[in-house]
Symmetry: C2
Subunit: 669 residues, 2 copies
């Protein structure tokens, strides 16, 4: 491992600073992790982490509560930007029972409340006097919010809203911390005034007494049980039985219900109320990059020390380090590249989101449709590719990657959840598709597009073929043009098909849905590559040539490997119109082989640079020292099931032996 680490062509710390945005943040982050990990007692990784011992549902939640409390309190004192990543495994905020306080509850009030409401609720929440969650999804209803059934009926006499779950399927289901940990929530419910149904709106509802935790009258709360991951939090359900809240608890930043029941709303208020989700999606894209980086860190470290078979680098008694095998480093290095690509793409989203917020502060919302599409697409792209990728990284660790103590199953399961929550990806792709078709409509009507969409106007180029040869494929212009051409071609072709269809619009949409999703994906992949390129063009002036070279190779690997990777999604569309010929594809394969050879010595440095602590990786395979087998056996020997069998019965597991094994052996036939 030491040798592999020294083989790096650049200074790892320089890259770490680039990832976290400077030396100071890197140091702050390190100190914060050390502080939290010491408080939790996880810093000494020779001790089997509690989560790998005997934990059932209750105990997993008990640990989650403790982690949540320590992290929350640390965040209260230090208020670091990376709060969201400082949970033990660097997981998304909703790994903690209190994670949605900052992630969704406060943003909902911030974005959708009026000044009075912000002044009342935000200080309470920030001080931890109340602990909030966010209730949107119902047992029977997900991303399609117009289908929600929970009602908020205005009672003019009492000047109150009555929150009610009219059916089993309207049970609020899934919100993190809802089961037992939170005291308040923002509820999305259909606003009913008299006989008018005004559709989904947001309401602050107190769930429990902040004194003794008792659920308020009419509210039934519980846990949804074991999940593939996130068992440290109590994703919960809530039934509301005619629960009354004051009129002032409706979030009235964009809509108003007056004392006499008059309803008014600014145009586009429904879309504005999704701003909370929009922020959530931007953050998910960012955190996904870190999660994928964790999976690749573990897999690259394991593959660097694991030896098997006789292959390219075997000499003397040693077998080949598995990372030397082409299939192994093809898979791992393309995933390393994807983690960086996702980080850089999320930075673009962050920057655009900041622009949007500035715009919105002055009451201007024109950027919202663009930002909605961008955040939806980036979330869908980042999470679906990272979910596939993390699982492939796990498979790269063979059998040992199937052990919970590898840390990988939990990381994979966490990422794969993100493909579903905060907007199911196939629904999000369609939202991107809808925006793209509208852009083409606008283009044809001579209207102005958002600057990032102007590329669509750059000729629709259906018949153009790529002219590049050999090393020309390393040129950024060539790479971008391949992605741009595909996006243009697919967008215009599906626009023509849908708009000229003789079917009813929902049927035409459905008939062409696969093509719509393809076009959306092609657009986002182009934007993502562009973000990577932009990032490279704007590196700090002090960046060393060695690091520049490594990052440039990584960018080319990202751009080119995607074209020829057997596991790439929707790769036919790069090729089927003849834009790239068979000899050109072989040239690209050759360039990818060269890039892999060049990047292989940097594999450890490119993953070390994310600067994950051993405690946060929580993996017997992925510790920085590379002592894989010692670390596995050290933890396995501490397993309660082994300790119990060895101590009490010198190697016999009781009562299992007596109840199940012995009766078979001694059966009278």
């Amino acid at each position: 491992m030491k040798k592999a680490r020294e083989a790096a062509s650049f200074d790892t710390h320089e890259l770490t600073c680039l990832i976290y945005g400077g030396e100071q943040t890197v140091q702050q982050r390190r100190v914060a992790f050390e502080r939290v990990e010491r408080a939790l007692g996880t810093r000494d990784t020779s001790i089997l982490p509690r989560c790998y011992g005997n934990m059932n549902r209750d105990e997993a939640y008990d640990e989650g509560l403790e982690v949540g409390r320590v992290t929350f309190e640390d965040g209260r004192h230090h208020n670091h930007d990376f709060f969201l990543e400082s949970t033990p495994r660097g997981m998304i905020a909703n790994a903690s029972p209190f994670g949605l306080v900052r992630f969704l509850f406060e943003p909902a009030i911030q974005y959708c409340g009026n000044e009075e409401q912000k002044a009342k609720w935000l200080p309470l929440s920030r001080a931890g006097k109340i602990l909030g969650t966010y209730c949107q999804t119902e047992l029977g209803h997900g991303t399609f919010v117009r289908g929600l059934e929970t009602t908020a009926t205005f009672d003019q006499t009492a000047d109150e809203f009555v929150i009610h779950s009219p059916t089993l399927s309207s049970t609020k289901f899934w919100p993190g911390g809802l089961g037992f940990s939170t005291t308040h929530t923002v509820v999305m419910a259909r606003l009913m005034i008299g006989t008018n149904d005004h559709g989904p709106h947001l309401f602050i509802v107190q769930l429990r007494s902040t004194e003794d935790g008792m659920p308020l009258p009419g509210i039934k709360l519980g846990d949804v049980g074991l999940k593939m991951a996130y068992n440290g939090t109590d994703n919960g359900f809530a039934c509301f039985e005619l629960v009354r809240i004051p009129r002032s608890n409706m979030l009235m930043g964009h809509v108003t219900v007056s004392r006499d029941g008059a309803y008014s709303a600014i145009p586009g208020h429904a879309v504005l109320s999704y701003s909370t989700m929009l922020l959530g999606r931007v953050r998910i894209a960012r955190i996904t990059a870190f999660q994928l980086a964790q999976a690749t860190t573990i897999a690259v470290r394991y593959s660097t020390v694991r030896e098997q078979g006789v292959g390219p680098d075997s000499s003397g008694p040693n077998e080949t380090r598995i990372i030397s095998y082409r299939s192994q480093h093809f898979r791992l290095l393309t995933l390393v590249a994807k983690a960086y690509a996702t980080l850089f793409a999320s930075r673009k989203c962050d920057a655009d989101h900041t622009k949007l917020r500035v715009q919105q502060e002055s009451g201007e919302h024109s950027m919202l449709p663009y930002m909605h599409s961008l955040s939806a697409g980036m979330k869908a792209w980042a999470t679906s590719d990272a979910a596939d990728g993390a699982e492939d990284a796990r498979k790269c660790c063979g059998g040992h990657g199937f052990l919970m103590i590898s840390g990988l199953p939990e990381i994979v399961a966490s990422i794969t959840a993100a493909a579903t929550f905060e907007g199911e990806n196939y629904v999000l792709w369609q939202q991107v598709g809808r925006y793209l078709l509208k852009c083409v409509d606008a283009l044809k009507a001579g209207q102005k597009l958002h600057p990032d969409m102007v590329y669509l106007n750059d000729g629709n180029g259906v018949s153009a073929s790529c002219k590049a040869q050999r090393t020309q494929f390393l040129g950024r212009g060539v790479q971008l043009s391949i992605y741009r051409h595909r996006a243009q071609r697919l967008v215009f072709s599906v626009h023509a098909a849908v708009r000229s269809s003789s079917m009813a619009p929902p049927d035409a949409w459905n008939y062409h849905m696969m093509a719509i999703i393809s076009a959306a994906r092609a657009h986002i992949e182009y934007i993502a590559l562009q973000a990577f390129v932009t990032q490279l063009e704007n590196l700090p002036a002090s960046t060393t040539p060695a690091l520049q070279l490594a990052l440039n190779r990584l960018c080319s690997l990202f751009a080119l490997s995607n074209l020829i990777n057997p596991r790439s999604v929707d790769v036919l569309s790069f090729v089927e119109d003849g834009h790239l010929s068979s000899p050109q594809l072989d040239m690209i394969r050759e360039q990818v082989n060269e890039l892999l050879d060049a990047l292989l010595p940097d594999a450890i440095a490119l993953t070390d640079a994310w600067d994950f602590t051993d405690a946060s990786l929580c993996s017997a395979l992925g510790m920085a020292d590379g002592n894989v087998y010692e670390n596995i056996m050290r933890w396995v020997e501490q397993l309660p099931i082994n300790q119990k069998a060895w101590k009490e019965n010198s190697g016999v597991y009781e009562p299992g032996w007596t109840d199940s094994v012995d009766p078979i052996l001694k059966a009278k036939l």
Copy 2:
């Protein structure tokens, strides 16, 4: 659900009989499931299954022991062929602590023992007087058996072998039931006689006393801890400290060590000793079909009752059933087709394996290389595609698919394990590749090939282009020729590249590894399609035209959707040489759309036909009644964490509230 069930174009029961090989087996299987499920108390699915309540490592194993004992004892009395599938979730045998007795321990003795050994050990095992497992993998060594470190040193004086684990990395690691449940094992160890290392051989070693379960002297045994799945069994580890066994415990069917230490072996004995694994791989391919079918059954049922959004079939107050969306039924129906394709492909393997066994009984082993390659490739293809597919089916269920009570996480995790165990898939693909290159060598040397490989000789057709138009793509000949052409092209092209390379052979192999894997996959996909087609050509004469039609559509969907599915693996190779043009691909897309529309009404019937009991699916989403929300909430309300909070504290979870939530709320800042 009833309506969807009635929409079927054929008789579901007829298809069930086709799947299980006749009415009688279907009935036997039903009776066996009922008997086992009643014995286990899982038949009443209104009760929350134990595995979804509070289970830690110990309790999961305790349940596994009970399930294992009941299943083992039922199998003892009934000895049904479908023993392997009668574990509660229809999982592979190694879900049970006693599953490897029949799956690997007995076959190892059967295939590699001499007559005397078979006569001694097999009756003991069949009577359950001993319980065996199979120890091959070590902590530091997997599929590459030549790297194993465990030694079996011949002590001529004592006429014994000394089994020893010389290093930490030589610890036997992973065998099912090894931790605490089994009494004997077959161990693969390097045979050492004097200074000679004869490489890996097989030895029967007693692990524990059959009287009291105590590990025998010098043997340390334990559990490897929590895994992604299979927690009902104790995958374990074993260290051997100079453990002595009689010489007669070495399996001597193909090799002999005489009293005076003389070693003799029949040619190819090393390969013959893998016969056990070969059978294992054939069975895995078969069981994978059932597991994928379980995942699709749950996802299709859920998608049939889940409504969301306004789409093609929404009318009045109802939202659209999500299965009506193109992206949803594209994903689900292609997976349904793949489950059938996998079943039919595994039948071909079964048949060839039977031929091989007959051949081998008369001392003839010429079919072994072919069968080795076929079983390796089918195992790799079936498990990798099914792992991706089951996870996609899980994602089709949105958030609820992330709940453990959906049953899907366990199914997905079980299948994904199979991509690694009994031969890691990327290693297996290379074994297929090696065989393919040897076939081309043989062809060029004018030698005879196995009948299934003769197609390679059918012109290498690199430049041929497909002439089919529109509905001609539904022709079996056209479909087969597309797959055949790809396989031929890739095999010959990589053969030329590897054989003409100027690099050292291991380096040339490594450089072209991605192309080798592509060729292997293309070959197996051709064989799999051929198996589906053969199956259709040989349906029982009594098969109704309605069922024939449905199966024919399914076969075409399998063949054609793979060409244009955005998630297909390695799809570029169908197209990049111009074999299929862009207009032809659009025609194929159109045919796929037509097939999907035709098959959609049969979705429930095609999954019902696998005849899974509700108890064996163990899924709140996938019960036959389709009452998804009622079933979810019925189980969620029974969760111990909820029962505890509701009963003792009227809705407050203690001590979590007092220890973690309250301190945050009451913090003095």
